[in-house]
Structures are given as C-alpha cells and as structure tokens.
C-alpha cells in the first residue's frame, strides 16, 4: 500500500498512490494511515486523486481513519475521482467530510 505523507503549510498531506482502496486493501490502508499520521496533531488532507475505485470496505477504512485521528484533528479529502465521489455521495459521507474538488493550490508543490 503506497501511501506517502509530507507536511505542508501546517498540515499533513497524505497521498494515496494506489488505484484501489477495496476489501483486499482496506486493512493495509488503515494500518499505513496510522503509521504516517503517528505523532502528528494537526489537520490532515488525504489526496485521493489517484484512487479510481473505492468500495464499502474502503469507505469504512476512511471513516475509521477519521475516528482514529479523533474529533480534535481534522481529516479532509481532496481529488475524488468520479466513482469514488459517487460512493461518498450515495452513502451521504460527503456531508461528513470536507471534500476539496482538487488538492488546494497552495499544497500542491509545498513541502
């Protein structure tokens, strides 16, 4: 599970460099997210622009990461591709997360 993190402008930018977060990958995704966010107390943006598909297990894993970070630490999402966006919209999880259509400009090359 290729998940890369770097700090930028006071937040942790996490890029998922995988095409799928599915039932076969959900646990590894959650474990990897736990690793890269360990020791970080600020907000986290999850860049999902390379993820083409996410199933309900993947969605559950993203929710689990949000709960893992806790209410004091914001998790925002960016760059949802059409099918991933559809899963968030259908399940109304788009109302739970702040979702940026694309990764905000100031974070793209910062770091």
């Amino acid at each position: 599970m290729d998940v890369q993190a770097r700090t930028a402008e006071g937040l942790l930018l996490v890029q998922v460099r995988e095409e799928r977060i599915d039932a076969a990958a959900a646990i590894r995704f959650k474990d990897r997210m736990r690793e890269v966010t360990a020791g970080w107390a600020g907000p986290v943006i999850l860049d999902m622009s390379e993820v083409k598909f996410l199933d309900s297990s993947g969605l559950g894993a993203v929710v689990a990461v949000m709960k893992l970070l806790g209410p004091e630490q914001r998790l925002e999402l960016a760059g949802l591709t059409p099918t991933v966006e559809k899963v968030f919209r259908l399940t109304r999880m788009d109302s739970v997360f702040r979702i940026h259509p694309v990764l905000p400009e100031e974070y793209r090359n910062a770091g």
Partner: protein, 151 residues
C-alpha cells in the same frame, strides 16, 4: 457453457453475454473486476454506467466472500447480459444461504450518532440496482439484478 441463471426474471434477447468464474476471496474479486471492466463490451459503456456497475458488483462479490464463504471457501460465477432495459447481472455462489433466505434491508447509514465503519454495502446495492431477486437452490445462492445503462 450454459449460464447458471436459474432464477433470473429478466427475459429478452441479450446483445451480448459475459461470463466469469472466480474464487471467492478478496484478491480474486479485485482481479475479476479488473478482467470484467477491461472487457471491451463493458469498457464501451459510459463511465457513469461502468462506475455504477463496478460499485454494485464489488459489493455483491465482497458480501459473498465475507458471508457466504466466511467458513468454507468456494467459487463464484458471474453472468452479465446487456438487455434493452440495462445490464442484467446474475451472481451465483455455493456458500451459506442468506440469513432467513432474505436479502438484507440495506438501511441508510445513520450519521447522527457515532459514524459506522461498515453497513454501507447493501445500502449502495439497493440504491443502484433494480429488480433485485435472490434465490436459494439446493446448495447455491443466486442474486440477479438490473443496472440502468446510459450512453
């Protein structure tokens, strides 16, 4: 091979039929979906129709892996036919029956209290698929449904 679609309610001529047999485990489901959605016949559908089909098929197959084959592994057969009304999908497994021989209700997830990490699957299936029908045969389950297709 004749399609094993004993209880499919959808009749009519199919423009094409795709059949795929796979093992009931999470990695085989991922590979199977990859094979299906690179098939030129499914790849020719609109991105929106393809996305819908992949979401529903993934949820149905994952449910089979997690529940029907929770104790004993087995195989799954997928049959997809393009009808005038849409994509007719029939999925057969040889595992444990649905509890009560009924499909789960698939209630919307309650976001007001603590957020759940699961329970989204059947809600998505029921939101996207039409004419869902479940049959239990001697030692198999079959689920058939219709997915709308737009150009």
């Amino acid at each position: 091979m004749q399609a094993e679609v004993a209880c499919c309610p959808e009749t009519g001529d199919a423009a094409w039929t795709i059949r795929l047999a796979l093992q009931g485990d999470a990695l085989a489901v991922r590979r199977g979906l990859g094979l299906l959605f690179t098939d030129p016949r499914l790849a020719a559908l609109s991105p929106d129709s393809r996305g819908t089909a992949e979401i529903v098929l993934a949820e149905v197959l994952n449910n089979i892996v997690e529940h029907a084959y929770a104790l004993v592994p087995g195989g799954v057969e997928v049959t997809i036919r393009l009808l005038e009304r849409g994509l007719c999908c029939c999925i057969r497994d040889h595992g444990a029956p649905m509890p009560g021989l009924e499909l789960p209700p698939g209630q919307p997830v309650d976001c007001s209290d603590e957020l759940p990490e699961g329970g989204f699957g059947w809600f998505m299936i029921r939101s996207l698929a039409r004419n869902l029908r479940y049959c239990r045969g001697g030692r198999w389950n079959e689920l058939c449904f219709l997915l709308p297709v737009n150009e």
